[in-house]
Amino acid sequence: MRARHAAQDVRRAKEFEAFVAGAGGRLTQTATLLTGEAPDGNPRARRLLTFALAHTYACWDRLHGEDPYDHARRHLAIRFADTAWHQYATWQHYAARDRARRRLAGPLAGLTPRERLILVLRLYEGVGEEQVAALLGLPTERVHAICDRATATVLHPPPAPSPPLPGTKAATT
């Protein structure tokens, strides 16, 4: 019994290492695009990906032929949607959201978390519209519309808002 468990552990470790070596790069890029961080400074993306991969590792023996990449990607998306929702719920003002967005430096930094999630899943990962809709619990038309809007925003970014003048600060707060 113990020997069988040990053999299973060794096999799982080997397979998982090969999986991370093969898919880690692409998953890192997906996570970095999701969080909107710069490619060379992506602590949040790393944290997200580590937990998604840990989940895949824990479920490795029960995947039963399911693609581990699919599993990791799904958990990445779910975890990201979850954390983004909590952040959104705790943000008090649009100003705070804009400040947080301005700190991001990735190519999708100008989008909202949900727009990033849908755009990355649809276009970068090539997941079908129906699957994205089912994963996020949205109607398919809504996913379609959000994807279109996000595409337009990325290709034609709106002009950056001018920094507030020092004298107007007292009036806005």
Binding site: A54, P107, T151
Partner: protein, 82 residues
Amino acid sequence: MNRPEREAAVRQIMERSVPRLPPELHTDAVRHGSRMLRRRTLARRLMWLLLWAAAVAFAVWAMVAEPWVEPPSETTPPLTDW
């Protein structure tokens, strides 16, 4: 610019920035994943233990209390002589 062209352009923008694969990703994932597995095993064992204890407790109580035996009536006197 039609839809496929727009999508291709966005795809190109997304593929332009390539982050470095973090070297500690595999070890961190394995560490967290092993902890998850250990916790799951522990939780499963605890659940079985609890289930077993509940079953034993129920059996002992049933043997002692014998709830299937009709309790003696306290309101109606026993019906005799008719």
